[in-house]
């Protein structure tokens, strides 16, 4: 009876008197491990500037772990630096460096183990094998971290932010560079990737698989080895992202593989070898995107169907569209094509003549990649022109019946 009476009171008391434990060279407590051992659930640990080489630090209590002036947590290339094994932990303001590397257990800068409500924000992570790893996490927030790696050998570099079998994540405003994949999603649902900048990663800026019902919005993916890959997923929303400067033999702005019922709206694809490469993709709405200065604006494989490609701008691409078959099951409407040479007599802003976005050379190189050898040869220009006048090889139903006369304001 007495206990029952005391419990709510105790709880209240406990919260009210949550302690702050200070760690630093000239503080009573010198190590973080010591502080965690002392801490109770709900406490705050403030770590002052300094280098902390304490091996693997395990956070197994619900605490706030905050760094002042970026104290350095150094894994000395041997261990995982920070392991989070409690719900609702907040980690902020640290500089986490030099995690170990191993192929079996993927040591990380910071790893969340099967927990809920963890917040990791405002940290700097450098030269770790994996940066931040969310394993079976829910309702976690990864925000405002700067994550980079400088290794050269691909097998010694893991992913920047790696999320696996998780739900309801918010990945916001992080900067990631130099990792294998900038952001990696596998079996993650109902999550949002927002305002991140992922550049110069060795493989993909964003690697996204089996992750339904997610959205990624206003991110920048630039100069990554192979661009962004989104695969085996339903119901993804991709809004207002930048896909830039992904040049290379097999590099794409955006690679879509087995995607359905998704939305790709308002993105910019600029200076990529291929803006979008799509394969086995169906019922996707591609609207209001800008394709500019790409080798290929879109490569649409014959396995794609029922995609709506409308109100996009195609500007200064070498090839706007390319495909590997003659079957056309996708719909092009109201796009602006800078290669369009038709006229608009009734002045409704829509060209009176349909536009065939598929050039002869695009078809030739798709059938026989070696023909790329003749790229920019004068003879090819000649062939393309004559095909435009008298189409014979390119499929005649590959057509935008209502091309815009002026580039759309996007």
């Amino acid at each position: 009876m007495k206990l029952h009476f005391c419990l709510p009171f105790l709880l209240f008391f406990n919260c009210f008197w949550a302690q702050t434990i200070e760690v630093g060279a000239n503080k009573p407590i010198k190590t973080i491990k010591e502080a965690i051992a002392l801490a109770k659930s709900g406490d705050t640990i403030t770590v002052y500037k300094g280098v902390y080489q304490e091996g693997n630090i395990i956070v197994d209590k619900k605490i706030i772990l905050q760094g002042k002036n970026f104290p350095i947590l150094d894994g000395q290339s041997k261990v995982e630096v920070l392991s989070i094994k409690a719900d609702s932990v907040v980690v902020s303001g640290f500089k986490v460096i030099n995690s170990g590397y191993a192929s079996l257990n993927d040591p990380c800068g910071i790893k969340i183990y099967n927990k809920t409500g963890v917040v990791i924000k405002d940290n700097v992570l450098e030269n770790n094998f994996f940066g931040i790893y969310v394993q079976k996490g829910t309702n976690c927030i990864i925000k405002n971290n700067t994550i980079s790696a400088h290794q050269k050998e691909e097998q010694r570099i893991g992913n920047g932010i790696h999320c696996w079998k998780s739900e309801n994540l918010q990945i916001t405003a992080n900067k990631i560079s130099g990792h294998r994949d900038g952001i990696y999603f596998e079996f993650v649902s109902n999550s949002v990737i927002w305002r991140n900048i992922s550049t110069a990663n060795i493989r993909y800026g964003l690697h996204f698989m089996f992750s339904n019902d997610d959205a990624y919005i206003s991110n920048v993916f630039k100069n990554n080895g192979a661009g962004v890959a989104v695969m085996f997923t339903k119901n993804v929303k991709m809004f207002n992202n930048y896909f830039e400067e992904n040049w290379g033999d097999a590099a794409y702005g955006l690679l879509l593989k087995e995607i359905s019922d998704s939305y790709i709206i308002g993105n910019k694809f600029i200076r990529n070898t291929s803006g979008i490469y799509m394969e086995g993709t169906s019922r996707v709405q591609l609207e209001k995107n800008i394709f500019k200065d790409n080798g290929w604006g879109m490569k649409i494989q014959a396995s794609c169907m029922d995609n709506q490609i409308a109100f996009n701008n195609f500007l200064a691409n070498t090839f706007d569209i390319s495909t590997n078959g003659s079957l056309v099951l996708n719909h092009f409407n109201n796009n602006y094509w800078d290669k369009y040479e038709g006229y608009d007599l009734n002045r409704d802003g829509i060209g009176d003549v349909p536009f065939h976005p598929l050039s002869l050379f695009a078809v030739i190189t798709e059938n026989n990649p070696s023909a790329m050898l003749l790229f920019r040869s004068f003879m090819i220009t000649l062939l393309d022109k004559s095909e435009k006048i008298l189409p014979s090889i390119t499929p005649d139903n590959f057509v935008d019946e209502t091309p815009e006369m002026k580039s759309l304001q996007l």
Partner: protein
């Protein structure tokens, strides 16, 4: 020798066609760099100029110039000068003049707007292509005495290397599409100076990625220092062989 080169050079540099050639090149280059406000577009325009206009003008102008100089050549022959020397001087004079026109027209805007490796490569390739086609002009002049036939031959050379050769390559590509012929194709491009120049330029235009697997093979071969050296060596051979054949013929030619 220098005296004759100087004479030929001064004569050609005053020629209206060469002056307007340089002007048109300048107009095209500056125009494309300014209008597009985009270096890559400007570079592509100049690439097309190098692959199309430069060979045509070089071979045609040179052929006509040589035929029109036949009396002048006779005059020189009646002077105490070696035959070989006359022909080589004429060649040097024409080459220098045409390269100079190319440089003034396209080279300067190129170096100002794109001072990197790509610009330099285009300048070099354009100059070499110019000389290759001047050399071919000498060959077509020596192969036939008749001016009309000679000009026809010169145009045929141009047509072949600018267009027909690539059509032939395309045909071969489709005929042998079942076989791994990429490596063989590397060899075949060596048979056309224009293709050699085009691929060298594309490799430096950051567009090589577009060429996919084929491009990778090209990059592996032509993109290395050795490949660069080899392809320029091949271009030099393309200058040397037709011209040396013409020198031999000229030495025993009755005028």
């Amino acid at each position: 020798m220098n005296r004759i080169i100087k004479i030929v050079l001064l004569d050609i540099l005053k020629n209206k066609i060469v002056v307007s050639y340089a002007l048109i090149l300048a107009l095209l280059s500056w125009g494309s760099f300014m209008l597009e406000n985009n270096t890559a577009k400007g570079l592509l325009t100049i690439l097309n100029v190098i692959l199309f206009t430069v060979p045509l003008v070089s071979v045609l102008f040179s052929t006509i110039y040589i035929y029109n100089s036949s009396e002048f050549i006779e005059l020189l022959l009646s002077q105490p000068i070696k035959r070989k020397k006359i022909w080589i001087s004429l060649f040097t004079g024409l080459s220098v003049a045409m390269v100079l026109a190319f440089f003034l027209g396209a080279g300067i805007p190129l170096l100002i707007n794109s001072p990197g490796m790509a610009g330099l490569m285009m300048l070099l390739a354009g100059s070499l292509i110019t000389v290759v086609f001047v050399g071919l002009a000498f060959l077509s002049c020596i192969l036939t005495r008749d001016k009309a036939k000679g000009i026809g031959l010169a145009i045929l050379f141009w047509l072949y290397f600018a267009i027909l050769f690539d059509a032939l390559v395309l045909f071969l590509l489709f005929q042998f599409s079942e076989y791994p012929i990429e490596e063989a194709m590397v060899g075949i491009t060596a048979l056309s100076p224009i293709d050699l120049a085009r691929i060298q330029i594309l490799l430096h235009l950051d567009q090589s990625a577009m060429m996919g697997y084929t491009g990778a093979i090209f990059k592996d071969f032509f993109g290395t220092a050795v490949g660069l050296l080899i392809s320029f060596l091949l271009l030099v051979l393309w200058i040397a062989i037709p011209f040396l054949v013409s020198v031999r013929k000229f030495e025993t030619k009755d005028l």
